[in-house]
């Protein structure tokens, strides 16, 4: 699993990349009450806002970690946003991407580096 400075995790599954938010991010956000997912098939550029997450207090964005196409979204999150707090690095993945340039993955942190990053 790779980690971004934006508190996302990325897991490579064949030629797909599964994206979610970290346990640390979920803890910091607090109780998630609403998730807005992108349409499948959307072509995105790195740092595009692709997901809106709302906690009781505030709205936050998840940015596309790399260039590519959204090929699948986890529509269970729309019905049960609390999954993001219950299992952020497992069941509560947000979307799967097909990368335009897989080498963009190289810059991301491994788990040890991410743990150090969040202190």
């Amino acid at each position: 699993m790779k980690f971004t400075e934006e508190h996302e995790w990325l897991r490579v599954e064949g030629d797909e990349i599964v994206v979610g938010i970290t346990i640390h991010a979920a803890e910091q956000l607090g109780d998630v009450v609403f998730v807005e997912l992108p349409d499948e098939g959307t072509v995105v550029s790195k740092d595009d806002e692709v997901v809106v997450i709302e906690s009781v207090k505030a709205a936050s964005d998840i940015l596309a970690p790399i260039d590519g196409e959204i090929i699948e979204v986890n529509s269970a999150l729309a019905d049960n946003p609390a999954m993001v707090n219950d299992d952020p690095q497992g069941e509560a993945w947000f979307f799967k991407m097909k990368a335009s340039d897989p080498s963009q993955m190289d810059e991301f942190m491994d788990e040890a580096a991410y743990q150090k990053f969040i202190g």
Partner: protein
């Protein structure tokens, strides 16, 4: 309005510039997540989290530190002197307030806008006033300028303020002083909690039964611990305080009411007693009386209403409201919006043009470029649970 990046780090106010309440160390001990608020470092939540803190307050009881608010005592030659002087600043019936009773009030400006909202209570011949933290400097200056030297204005900087809110609050406080059980909504009296003399009002900012308790600073931690020792009482942060007051339909000064908002627009005319209205025995005589009397007579062209977004997405303050799903006219704006944990969905309040203020009117809110349906609704979202 936009959302922020996932864990946006706001420009932090240097810790040294922030005030601390007498409970600051206790907040840290309890795991409070401290944020800057109105110049103070305050707990936005504890480890329980906003959602559970909110629900716990509605099912049991929550303890809030509201010591950042301003507490001020007004005294003079007699109750009549103090009350009549204070009536020069607020459109409320102060003189008619019985000893040991509290009332909601508004400081108005010459244009009829609201400078702050406040609670005032009669304590023998004195008037005990509680004002918002962000406004307290201006409020104290306003009172001193208008009332001194006949009335003495004393900011009580050596007192903390705690709020104990929720259906268990009455039992919790009565176990410490049985006199609390005799208090009704908006009563104000002196209680003794394990030997500490406190001033308690049976009121609050959650829509629940409960108390606000003014405590000498030196005893604040001891009293807070005494209340937290009760199995049903949990510490509650500012996050849940905001969602609780929003479900209760209560205004947040600076969001829902401000210097440009008249009490008539804000649907707060219930707070202006008859004796201060035209033809009342003490009509007018407060800042902006002419403007407020005119809008009382004519009604206003916009109104504060409850707003229920029909989907699951919360609509936050700043969301623009339209009269059609496409095209149409801008007819208002949300001033407070969040997810209501007890309501179980998004809740909001805001202002709409008068013709859209009727209950169940269908309007649309612009959320990130999409118009989503919103229904005009009655306030509160959650029925009040006061001890009348």
């Amino acid at each position: 309005m936009g959302s922020s990046d996932l864990l946006e780090t706001k420009e932090a106010t240097p810790v040294t510039d922030l005030n601390q309440t007498p409970l600051y160390d206790l907040h840290l001990e309890l795991g409070g997540k401290m944020v800057p608020f109105a110049g103070y470092s305050m707990p936005v939540q504890y480890p329980m989290g906003v959602m559970k803190e909110h629900l716990h307050t509605r099912s049991d009881a929550g303890l809030f530190d509201v010591s950042h608010m301003g507490q001020v005592m007004l005294s003079g030659a007699s109750w009549e002197a103090v009350a009549l002087a204070f009536e020069r600043l607020v459109p409320m019936d102060v003189l008619g307030l019985a000893d040991g009773r509290q009332r909601y009030g508004l400081f108005t400006n010459d244009a009829g806008g609201i400078e702050d909202d406040l609670m005032f209570a009669r304590r023998d011949d004195d008037l005990f006033v509680v004002v918002n933290a962000a406004c307290k400097g201006a409020d104290i200056a306003r009172m001193k300028a208008a009332l001194e030297p006949d009335v003495t204005v004393t900011p009580l900087q050596d007192r903390a303020l705690l709020a104990l809110q929720g259906p268990a609050a009455g039992a919790v406080l009565s176990a410490l002083d049985p006199a609390a059980a005799e208090m009704r909504f908006m009563d104000f009296r002196t209680l003794s909690l394990a030997g500490v003399e406190v001033w308690a009002s049976r009121s609050g900012y959650t829509g629940e039964d409960g108390f606000e308790i003014s405590v000498p600073e030196a005893e604040a931690v001891a009293v807070a611990r005494l209340l937290l020792d009760h199995a049903q009482v949990e510490p509650i942060g500012l996050g849940a305080r905001d969602s609780l007051r929003l479900e209760a339909g209560l205004c947040l000064y600076g969001n829902d009411i401000d210097a440009q908002t008249s009490p008539v627009d804000a649907n707060l005319t219930w707070a202006i007693q008859k004796v201060r209205r035209p033809d009342g025995a003490r009509a007018g005589g407060y800042p902006g009386a002419t403007a407020i009397e005119a809008s009382l007579a004519q009604g206003s062209d916009r109104k504060r209403v409850g707003l229920a977004p029909e989907g699951r997405a919360p609509m936050r303050d700043g969301t623009q409201l339209y009269d059609a799903q496409t095209g149409g006219r801008l007819i208002g704006q949300i001033t407070s919006g969040s997810f209501g944990p007890t309501h179980g969905g998004p809740v909001a309040m805001g202002y709409v043009d008068g013709e859209y203020a009727d209950m169940d009117t269908a309007i649309w809110g612009d959320l990130r470029g999409k118009r989503l349906p919103v229904r005009v609704t009655a306030l509160p979202f959650v029925a009040a649970n006061f001890k009348r």
